[in-house]
Amino acid sequence: MINENTTGLFAPQQGRKLRYSEAQKEAITYSMRQDEKVFIMGEDIVGAAGRSDLGFSDAWGPPSRSTQGLFTEFGELRVLDTPISEAAFIGAAIGSAAVGMRPIVELMFIDFVGVCMDQLLNNASKIKYMLGGQVDIPLTVITRMGAGVGWGAQHSESIYSLLVHLPGIKVLAPSDAYTAKGLLQSAINDNDPVIFCDHKKLLNVSSVVPEEPYELPIGKARVMRKGYDITLVGISYMTSVCMEAANILESQGIDVEVVDLLSLSPIDDSTILESVRKTGALIVVDEDNPRCGMASDIISMVAEKGFKDLKAAPRMVTAPHTPVPYSQALESLYVPDANRVVSVAKKVMEKKI
């Protein structure tokens, strides 16, 4: 396996292109081939379970389709379709991890975290600590998030902040196929519970992905473009929004630095602080709701550790403090976009000392 020191956090300029979901499948497949303790379960990660006698198999795969074909290679003991019982199967994943397995488990949408929150809050995050370090919980939860596709209030949220809040849990949010493969590999190899948040809008986006397996460091952000006037911190799909906004702002004479967070817990505070030290201005672009969220967390961190570097009040560009609306007219208002980022950035720049 090549490591991040040779690849960096950036994909090679040229090479094979792969969709995000296919890149993810490569990491899962490699891990399952390497280590018999790795297994995967979730709702409809195969589809048509128990219907092989009728010639049906592999009917679905999850919404990302990132598990299609695994059943054929690894069989029913290591690729398990579950009933719609998140508390039971995520609890079972945690229990199996406590006794030495390395489960990957699918939580179809992050909105469904409510039905298994007790298992994540009271078991996954606390077992190692409560038990005085007797065991690790090497659990990977892959889940999906993101609005803008008209799926309504219960299939569209990006409420990762609920999980970032929990000590004992790590949370990752890759922003393209390259980081999806490398960070998922790291998540599976990591000995702590990791929540891996896929954004729906990224699943079919292709980019260069090395064929060989590789890990990317958990807890490291990457600077997507360098600039001297203002720092935009993006999370997941919002990094694309930041890049789009940066191009518009550049045409208006504002030089933007974009930080792609990638890891929400732990967080790469030094890359953010270093950027703000240079630009003196900060906007965090976060699709989650604003209260007690990543955006407010990052801004409070910068206020504590980088106050002297700030030359303007930091701003949050986030979803409003509302559920996700269905109507496209409203949903397009809900999700932060480049125009909103540009407007806020210009206001910050006007007030910059």
Binding site: A87, A93, G95, A98, V99, N123
Partner: protein, 321 residues
């Protein structure tokens, strides 16, 4: 059983005497269930337990000195003082954790059983829980999962008639929890939880079934909690003395002593010697707990993760003091 009873009573005494701050939930009265089930298990088998878990841990083989030190919050405790009474675990003997959330440990046992199934071992997992957990959704999800996957797990419900201060005949739609297992096509049985032999035999059948690939079993043990919900709770505010007395007459320990005196010619002398040994080991456990050092201050931050930046754990002004 005697070790459990004496441990429960001694732990409560020490809690008061040493002004310890922990929450204790005594399982006095329920010893036959823990002892009868666990007598069928080896260290390779897994066990999950509840907030009322001392008896289960002792029966599974956790050392009482490390349990006592855990209750004292000392570094020599089973969990190095970081879990307390409600979270005792010792993986060396297959005790994978008591749990403070009612019902929450049930799917963990299913996960341990799933490991046995995936790896093809003959290990089994036992999950103890109470009548309170019978009304938690996660039990039902777990029973369904265990049934469709034929997991080697044994669900043992200790029905002690009260979930905290709420009687089960008020809170539960059925008289017997065991009937709920039928809805998941899981074989179930109801046993006298005050009779260790009866519990042992039912558990033996269930565990053999699980080991041989026959899937889960549900055992409901009718039992009684002699003390309040927690040390300091007066149960006579919600139940009758006459009810308590009826159950105490069926005491699992004194009745078993009578039985082995009569049927197995065990002498009073032999029984007394066992009790004396237990008393000694409890003195030793309390002594060990008191002498065990407090956890190191840095242990506040240890074991949250296997790897994580220290500067993101040590926040909130602690370093400024």
């Amino acid at each position: 059983m005697s070790t459990i009873r004496k441990f429960e009573n001694r732990a409560t005494e020490e809690l008061v005497e040493n002004k310890l701050v922990g929450l204790l939930h005594s399982s006095a009265g329920q010893e036959a269930v823990a002892a009868g089930v666990c007598a069928n298990l080896s260290n390779d088998d897994y066990l999950t337990s509840t907030h009322r878990g001392h008896g289960h841990s002792i029966a599974k083989g956790v050392a009482i000195r490390s349990m006592m030190a855990e209750i004292f919050g000392r570094s020599g405790g089973a969990n190095r003082g970081k879990g307390g009474s409600m979270h005792v675990a010792d993986f060396a003997v297959g005790m994978i954790g008591a749990n403070g959330i009612v019902g929450s440990s049930i799917p963990l046992a299913c996960g341990a059983a799933l490991k046995a199934k995936i790896t093809g071992s003959d290990q089994v997992a036992v999950s103890f829980f109470g009548d309170g957990a019978a009304n938690q959704g996660v039990l039902h999800e777990s029973m369904n999962l265990a049934s469709i996957w034929k997991l080697p797990v044994i669900f043992v419900c200790e029905n002690n008639l009260y979930a905290q201060a709420t009687p089960s005949d008020y809170a539960m739609s059925v008289k017997d929890v065991a009937v709920r297992a039928q809805g998941y096509d899981i074989p179930s049985t109801i046993v006298d939880g005050m009779d260790i032999i009866e519990v042992y035999k039912a558990a033996n059948i269930a565990i053999n079934r699980a080991r041989s690939g026959g899937g889960p079993t549900f055992i409901e043990a009718k039992t009684y909690r002699y003390e309040g919900h927690f040390a300091g709770d007066n149960p006579l505010r919600y139940r009758l003395t006459s009810e308590e007395n009826q159950w105490r007459e069926r005491d699992p320990i004194s009745n078993f002593k009578t039985k082995i005196r009569e049927e197995n010619q065990v002498t009073d002398y032999e029984i007394d010697n066992i009790d004396i040994d237990i008393d000694k080991s409890l003195d030793e456990a309390v002594d060990f707990a008191k002498r065990s050092p407090q956890p190191d201050k840095l242990d506040l931050f240890s074991d949250v993760y296997s790897s994580y930046p220290m500067n993101q754990l040590d926040v909130g002004g602690i370093r400024d003091q």
